[in-house]
C-alpha cells in the first residue's frame, strides 16, 4: 500500500491550479495543455505518413 502511495505521489496535482484569463475566457493550465496535445496529435495524424507506406510501395 505504501509503495503505491509513494509512486502515486510522484507528481502531486492536488494543489490549487493555475488559470489563464483573457477577457471572459478562463482556462486551467492543465486543460490548455491537454487541448494543445490534442491539437498537436491531430496535426501529427494529418502529416505523419501512414505506417507500412514503404512496404506498399515495394509491393507495387
Amino acid at each position: 500500500m505504501s509503495w503505491f502511495n509513494s509512486v502515486g505521489a510522484l507528481i502531486n496535482l492536488d494543489h490549487p491550479g493555475h488559470f489563464l484569463h483573457w477577457h471572459f475566457i478562463q482556462v486551467s493550465v492543465a486543460n490548455a495543455l491537454v487541448m494543445t496535445l490534442m491539437v498537436a496529435t491531430f496535426v501529427v495524424a494529418l502529416l505523419a505518413p501512414f505506417p507500412g507506406r514503404r512496404s506498399r510501395k515495394e509491393n507495387r
Binding site: I11, N12, D14, P16, I25, S28, V29, N31, L33, L47
Partner: protein, 313 residues
Amino acid sequence: MSKSFRPDVDAPEWRGGYTPYDIIKEGTIALVVVAVLTVALALIFSSPDEHAVTIKTWSNATPVDFAQTALSELNGTSGTAQYGAPYNTASDGQKLGPLSLAKWVGVHQPVNTIQDFVIDPLTALPDQSALTQALDAWRGATASTRSGWVDNYTKAATQMTYAHGQIVVPATNAGPVPLFINDLTMMARSGALDQALVTQHGFYTTNYTKPLLFLSDGSYLASLAQKDHLLGTQWGMMNETGSYPGQAWLWLYTFWYQVTPFSTSANADVQVWGVMMLLSVVLLFVPFIPGLRSIPRKTRVYRLIWREHYQNL
C-alpha cells in the same frame, strides 16, 4: 438513365487496386497504447483526492452560515424552497421562451424544506424532552402563528452569532424557532443530520438529493467551488479540482454561460440546453445541409490525409 453527379453526395466508382488493411491489428495496437498510457499516467499523477463535503463539515466550519441556511429553509427563502419543479410548485422554474418545460415535467422529487430539512430531522432525535415539547407546540400552532414566530426570528437573525457551542439570536416572540435552529445546528455538527437526510427513503441510502440541496442553499459549498474554479461563471463545468485537467470537451456547453444573453438570464440552464440541442441536430444533419456539407470537400483536408494517393493520380 443517368443522373447528374452530385459532388457532396455521390462517390465515383473506384477502378484502382485494393490494399489489405488489418483493422483488428490497428485496434489492438490502439487498445494497448491507451491502456499503457492510462496506467502510466495514473501511476505518475494519481487522481484528485478531495474529500466529500458534508453537512457536518459545513456546520463545523461555518455554523452561522449553516444556521442562516436552516432558517431560510424554515422561512421559505432558500433556493430550494423557491426553485419550483421538480421539487415544489413555488415557481414556474426554467422556461424556454413561452415554454414552461420544468413546470410541464412537474414535481417528481417533492421537497418540503420546512418538513424535510427541519421538522422531520428534529423529530428523529431521541430523548429530547424540550425539543419534543417545542415540536408539539409547532404542530399545534396555526399557520399564522408559525409565520409570526419565523418572521420575528428572521428579523433578529441579522445579529446571529455562534458562541460557546450555541447559536445566539436576540429574538423575542419566536416560539420554538430558536430551539429548532440551535438543535438542528447541533445535530448537523454531530453528523446526525447527514444521516437523517439520506435515510428517509428506505434501507439503501443512495439518494443524496436532500443533503445536496441543503448544502447548495448555503454559501459554504459555493465558496469552496469558487476556490477551485468550479462555479458556472468560471467555466467550472470543464474544470477539475486541484491542478488536474478536467472535462475539456464540455468547453462549448460552458462557453454559452459566459456570454450574454445567457450569462444574465434566469433561464440560462434550459436556454443553453436548447442551443446545444439545436447544434447537435445541425451536426446530425450535416450531410443534408447544403454549404455545410461541402466544407470537407472545399477545404480539401482529405487530400492532405490521402496525399500519397493523390500524388499518384
